[in-house]
Subunit: 208 residues, 2 copies
DNA sequence: AAAGCGTTCAAGCATCTGATTGACTAACCG
DNA sequence: CGGTTAGTCAATCAGATGCTTGAACGCTTT
């Protein structure tokens, strides 16, 4: 049996390239999407040999799937946490701010957080392999939103409120993916919130 | 000099394959995006030889560019026409209905109209070559929307209203591209309008 | 009939794709 | 020291990619 406590220098360097590969995959996936990631470009960006991908992940697709799944999980955690700090009797504006907070933070922070956000957005268009397991979690988030929405937007059927939630999520994804996202990156979190919350809350509530 | 009135059967069959290639490109571009279109798949779908693309369009990219430009122009015409029937003192709901009408019609009609719509949506994420010429027309459409919006949503800066317009456009593009679009296709124009207009109008107006 | 022309076609090209192989290094262990 | 193992690497593979070529086809014109 292995003794993982002992620092085996060989395994340590292996883990390092493994991480570099995963990070490079994250960046490339965010920029070009799953079909746009090539083995050479990935390994060049990671400073690794082509065969390192097969060695550490089995295949390029397996690496991409793992990176995408990590990104989705990471985003779901952030959004669930933001929503869970919300009481069931919050205002629609507070709901909008919470719902958008992971995206706003990603835009303001940039770097790998933004890459994660863009991967999430792309996954909304092209559902990756093994989507079923994560779809349930997305449904859960939408259910959390619905709870607050039902108390604040009366006279609208649940099904329609759920549709509005998906519309809002799609709008946020779009802002991250489209060229306008580059313009938004130069703004602070406060500015982004002031800009986005009225639109999102308005979409949730329906026409004034 | 040629006499174009005379039906030269050779040129006629040539035009047919040219059209078939363009239509096949439209369908494939809508489904897979520009990078997902391969020469063999395209020519197989069109029932043509690979070299037909080079002969008629110069290159695969040129064919895709032409098809995308056609789609964008077609969509801009439809949207501009819908907006021009709007008086400058219309309600936000009427503006929302007009703004979304090309998309709603495409969803209800399906077929090539929907393909055009999806190509437009993809172009919003990955601007195609020669985008500059068309960007001005999109700015024009947004200016039309702004005119109506300024009269109905007081106390909000033009810059912010323009941002909301881009948010709404992005949301619509998303709905067409994401898997939820398949669900929407089973609905009638009336149903789609009833579902979409409140969300769009709400996003335009801001939080209730 | 014969030459001209627009179009189509199978075959082939260079390049890039993801993946595999076997040799090689270096760290670990007895 | 010798044997084992984890990891890296250059070389190579088969397949797919976009594109070109030269020949052939069939209609049009003279």
């Amino acid at each position: 049996m292995d003794s993982p406590d002992v620092t085996d220098q060989r395994r340590e360097t292996g883990l390092r390239t493994r991480t570099r590969l995963r990070d490079a995959a994250l960046d490339l996936l965010a920029e070009r999407g799953e079909d746009g990631v090539t083995l050479r470009e990935l390994t060049d960006a990671a400073g690794a040999n082509v065969s390192a991908v097969s060695y550490h992940f089995g295949s390029l697709k397996a690496l991409c799937d793992a990176a995408i799944e990590d990104a989705l999980e990471h985003y779901l955690d952030a959004q669930h946490e933001a929503l869970s700090e919300l009481g069931p009797e919050s205002t629609v504006e507070a709901l909008a701010a919470a719902f958008a907070s992971p995206m706003i933070r990603a835009l303001a922070t940039g770097g790998r957080d933004l890459a994660v956000m863009r991967i999430v957005a792309r996954a909304g268009i092209d559902p990756p392999g093994g989507w079923d397991r994560l779809a349930a979690r997305f449904d859960g988030v939408r259910a959390d939103v619905l709870t607050v929405l039902k108390a604040n937007v009366p006279g609208v059927k649940d099904q329609e409120l759920l549709f509005r939630t998906r519309c809002v999520a799609g709008m946020m994804n779009w802002l991250v993916l489209a060229p306008i996202g580059s313009e938004l990156r130069s703004k602070s979190e406060k500015q982004l919130e002031r800009l986005l919350v009225p639109v999102i809350a308005g979409a949730f509530s329906g026409a004034s």
